[in-house]
Subunit: 426 residues, 4 copies
Amino acid sequence: MEVQEQAVTNSRLTLLLEKFRRVRIQSVNLCKPLKSEDYVVQPIVDVSPPKWHLAHTTWFFEALVLETYNPDYKVFNSDYGYMFNSYYESVGERVLRPNRGFMTRPTIEDVMDYRRYINEQLEEFILTLNDDETRILDVLEIGLNHEQQHQELLLTDIKYILGHNPLFPVYSTELNATGNLSDTSNFLPVDEGLYEIGHQSNQFCYDNELGVHKVYLHNFEIMDRLVTNGEYLEFVEAGGYQDFQWWYSEAWDWVNQNEIKAPHYWHKVEGDWHSYTLQGFHKLNSSEPVTHISQYEADAFARWKGLRLPTEFEWEIACKLHSPEIANSSNFVEDKNFNPKIQPANNYQFYGDCWEWTNSAYLPYPYFKTDEGALGEYNGKFMINQMVLRGGSCATPRDHIRPTYRNFFNPHLRWQFTGIRLARHT
Amino acid sequence: MEVQEQAVTNSRLTLLLEKFRRVRIQSVNLCKPLKSEDYVVQPIVDVSPPKWHLAHTTWFFEALVLETYNPDYKVFNSDYGYMFNSYYESVGERVLRPNRGFMTRPTIEDVMDYRRYINEQLEEFILTLNDDETRILDVLEIGLNHEQQHQELLLTDIKYILGHNPLFPVYSTELNATGNLSDTSNFLPVDEGLYEIGHQSNQFCYDNELGVHKVYLHNFEIMDRLVTNGEYLEFVEAGGYQDFQWWYSEAWDWVNQNEIKAPHYWHKVEGDWHSYTLQGFHKLNSSEPVTHISQYEADAFARWKGLRLPTEFEWEIACKLHSPEIANSSNFVEDKNFNPKIQPANNYQFYGDCWEWTNSAYLPYPYFKTDEGALGEYNGKFMINQMVLRGGSCATPRDHIRPTYRNFFNPHLRWQFTGIRLARHT
Amino acid sequence: MEVQEQAVTNSRLTLLLEKFRRVRIQSVNLCKPLKSEDYVVQPIVDVSPPKWHLAHTTWFFEALVLETYNPDYKVFNSDYGYMFNSYYESVGERVLRPNRGFMTRPTIEDVMDYRRYINEQLEEFILTLNDDETRILDVLEIGLNHEQQHQELLLTDIKYILGHNPLFPVYSTELNATGNLSDTSNFLPVDEGLYEIGHQSNQFCYDNELGVHKVYLHNFEIMDRLVTNGEYLEFVEAGGYQDFQWWYSEAWDWVNQNEIKAPHYWHKVEGDWHSYTLQGFHKLNSSEPVTHISQYEADAFARWKGLRLPTEFEWEIACKLHSPEIANSSNFVEDKNFNPKIQPANNYQFYGDCWEWTNSAYLPYPYFKTDEGALGEYNGKFMINQMVLRGGSCATPRDHIRPTYRNFFNPHLRWQFTGIRLARHT
Amino acid sequence: MEVQEQAVTNSRLTLLLEKFRRVRIQSVNLCKPLKSEDYVVQPIVDVSPPKWHLAHTTWFFEALVLETYNPDYKVFNSDYGYMFNSYYESVGERVLRPNRGFMTRPTIEDVMDYRRYINEQLEEFILTLNDDETRILDVLEIGLNHEQQHQELLLTDIKYILGHNPLFPVYSTELNATGNLSDTSNFLPVDEGLYEIGHQSNQFCYDNELGVHKVYLHNFEIMDRLVTNGEYLEFVEAGGYQDFQWWYSEAWDWVNQNEIKAPHYWHKVEGDWHSYTLQGFHKLNSSEPVTHISQYEADAFARWKGLRLPTEFEWEIACKLHSPEIANSSNFVEDKNFNPKIQPANNYQFYGDCWEWTNSAYLPYPYFKTDEGALGEYNGKFMINQMVLRGGSCATPRDHIRPTYRNFFNPHLRWQFTGIRLARHT
């Protein structure tokens, strides 16, 4: 990861301290609707216990800031190091493999104590710093972005835990505000030519966005909104999941081995399609964007429509051209819908609502370099067999997204708020 | 299961009501040291969440007594039926497979409400009955024995959950009272001859103890106490786990595939053997009975000693001859040691402390008949590929055990309080 | 294994030499219908390649006789030791795990050369011996019985390989001679009492038959023939495989996970049941004994009939009482039916046709002792989680079976010629 | 797949007929050193039995040419359709899943009869055609390219089968001709700029090479030969396989789970590295190109060297610029080395020797379209989670390769002749 120099009127320290307080409290707030029991479990390997997210993001500040840069720092609990280090490997014969989902201790109360202790220690430590200590401030900034990423996972993991409980518990009772759906989608054109890809401002970005470089795009156009539940339902009802011709060979195996018949969280009850959202179990809203689909499904749907997914480069240029700024109507975690929503026609939905699967593999940009040390493990080591997603979702913090942001997951995964935007050459 | 007629001075109803109150409160008491988080998880398939035990034993009374015999009964929550029925199979498209260890809801508070409701309903219902309604009283009695069995599992499952946590939480701070170990064990002789096996009194027993029948035993003798940690440690240190000649072929595969090197809960820390007990993480006490071993290990140890495990028939006859009554010093769950202990020489340890592996496969006795309906599933369907254990353990309720009681587990399992008594022909 | 002293008019050496020639040529004869390709594969872990059987039985004589007792012996090929030793564990870094079913070399021609070489060497060596060298003669005798056991496996493994080929190749065109089926089966009674179990003559037997001991049997009776395809078909058609009540809990899982719907080698084609036999693919003959069933299925069928499987002790005593001698009409491998057949009413089928599943676990007899050294591994180490079968089959050599012979397999296995005889208490 | 129009002096039919004879006989010739037993087995899922390759390539002509276009054609054996169709899914209840590696029948003799029959039928049929019947000629041409691809697999699968046999059989005794290795490798430069990617001539190519399009390349340079065993050995000896920092996260799991410590076919015997080649088991030749490595290993090695793998676009442009023609010294299957070799300095090794892993995911080019019908399944459905390889290998037919040819495999696979060429930005 690398951090560009900032031109700020306020001191960088002041801004970081403000963001630190805001981000740290937000993690706790997202857990307010949970019961103690909800914090513990790991139903699938991709989903971590909420308690683990709260502790792991805290451990990041403890290990990479306090233990590294504050010689006076006293460790809260020496066992927490290996329990909450996501990269942990066995360190000695006494230590049991801390299987995340079975660690009932420390309790959530203990973890909250841990958070409070680290918050106090860190604030105290920050007040001893000044703007020249760039490396420490960089690590702090990464820690905050790291915690924001975990907030998104926290929410999708909570959804998984509650959404696979036969009681279908309600997480939020706030109504999911939806706009009016423009009946038909239109296509936004982009002209053939040489474009620049990658992060260029002096704001924070991850190392995988750097290596600004030229990419040649051929004429194409791209949908001006996300694909809806109603549109996707046509594919389901047309037998899309039963016809091998729409699927990659390995996707077809996945469909059959897992008996996939619809997006995750969809259930057919007495002939009607329902879905579980964080507002509970409801009839499917056909105007809302389809979500919780794999890249396999996004690609199969595109083929069935005679279209295709955009590349990440097409997506980035279309976004920069047609939607350079984030609109107020865009739908992020702070808006508390916790679900993608219908947007006004001029919103275009490049930001928020759903992460958009591209047909680009997650690979290094030309001139890509990883950071030194532990922080260098952040992105580069995942650059194989994953596909790029763009644009953020309804679970992303509003100040965490930008046109150059590259998210990535294995193509079969569905527990994130993932959706579809289609493209075609012209 | 079958219930013999009782000759009681008190009404059977009165006794059942008393036992009902005692057994029901005991399940809750065993959970007192737990935190909410501890109630939820299922770290291995054999271990059920404590919450599930509390709810399942309650559901048993709801479904098999109240719903069956009380036409006025109103179900507490219709979803609980499939969530807490251990024999549940899918019932319709909306229902998700209720993976026990990931069901964070209902919370433990909800489950306690469920218990209270069923307790009240059941007490009310019992008061409408009389001693003639034999079938209902039989089912009630089975329900209480069923809950006592689950109390043992509850404790061993709690031990598994806490004992695999890197913090090694303490469940009980009461000291584990231990007597003086007689230095050498002696052998108790039994003469060759024809003996009767099976339950004969009019007290409660399970269906698998019935079918009183004759068995011819050849001369043998049997140890007058359980094998100790110290004795077992000699096997460990002599390389017993590295020498194939002591092991069944499939046991040898099990040792190697699972890298088994010592009993469960044993850990070598800086050269010294420790073990986790419900009192926490301590140095191994070499005088206490070895526990948490598989039948494979019990058998391998016996072969290494040039001895063998007794058959269940030898065990039953030796017990009836040499230890017909349960001594006060015997160690059951009510004694709150939660660990096998050293017994005075005249105790013989046939009851309590550790379930004793025999070399008998769990098979039906001659004339065995299963009960009608759902209760018939209780025992008979497990009579393949399991080995018999006898005598109860430190986690067994004192009034739950008898010389004819047949417990059974797959030979590789270790999470119960299992131990070793050796025998030989003479 | 242990060998009892013989009272022979001929020298033991002469008899062994005669048997040696007869047994060794029989292994080769059983392979005559095979093509080179058939010798190589191992479609499931239980089935070994025919080539491996031919080489492994040869290696047994090479390693345990020639290399052990003949100081002048020159090894045929030093690589064959670990390739054809069934107990092989890794011996050095160069050596690859010789996955039996993928070893295309040595070719079958090479293996035949190996057999010829060992035969010559062994005959030469035998001629240097005399009847006093008991240990060598004992090992030779075990080697011959070992090869006879492998002849049975050879035939069932060949059946598996050919019977899972879509072309259903024919192994033998000889007609499967069948007698007339007595319409109804009768029950043979056995009186309550104390009986002796185990091998008592001075003929060869395995160590697991020794430990002659007393067993008390309660009154019972046992069917006078095997269950037929027609009788078993009634169970299939009555939905026996769809009703959990007939099955052990683990058997029910096995039925569902493997989608078991009928005995192995049964196929329903256009509404009619067919089966593959070594004579090819034919309509099911409803009068012939049902075969290729697991102990699970045998037990489920018995329960459905309101009867039960006999114990191995009941079987042995009933056989000794009602069928002490092997009839000429009995059906063994030398009769070249390669399939169980209908027997005349007075044959009773205790010998040949099908191995009969009992409801006894394979456990040591009282006073059981294993042989010293490698031969001690023969039987004792399998005495867990297996069930006893009695009586031999149509793939057993006629001189290899006796009333005390104990065969054993895991209860789910079906590729042997296994069948059902029912019993009941009276 | 798509076939471009040809400008030929000879009739296209005549050329195809000549190629048909040449390609068909070559498949049989490659199998000459095999024994019947070698044709049968499938040791891992990626390796098919040689017999299957011979039959499947034949079935391709039978099903897609003769059965489709010749109304008079009589099928050779109706069972062969589902036995040798690589896309087979179950067709009715009688049919068993034809597990490729356990199908001992048809024998290799039967398969050779099948090949002869189809060859005769096809030659006869071709003689009835003329150059206007473009679609049939296109399918024929695809069939021949299809068989050439299977010839490469045939050879690598034979190597796998023989190379995992403890006897390490020799396939060819011809000496592996090697040139002199230039001590140091140099880098070939390519200037920044816009380049055209994709197949442009009127010769045959696959559909995945079409969609000629512009790609912008930044300044880079690329090695003028393949990485050698000696260079790779330095990585091995420096502990490259024990240091997580060189590996993708999923590659590190792969290394550890599979205990990977060196390239496939490397063995350390008494301190010295050896490798198995089709000439047998020999000391490692440090000057020859390293082969049988995964993309994971190629990437890890590149990182350890401070360099990187080229993209497929960089590779294609460098090849077209620096090595537009295939040299006589290049090493293909017809040269019978069956192993990559040392090349003269001016050869550059872009063609033959080893398939070169790129760091490009296998994705569609802009404007990519799949062919109609069954032939459309050829390439497009594999465009996920695979990496591109370029340049052909010592197992590729000389007339089968071109600069635009895109091969693809999952990044963990090693049984092909795969190697490394490094690149860097300048």
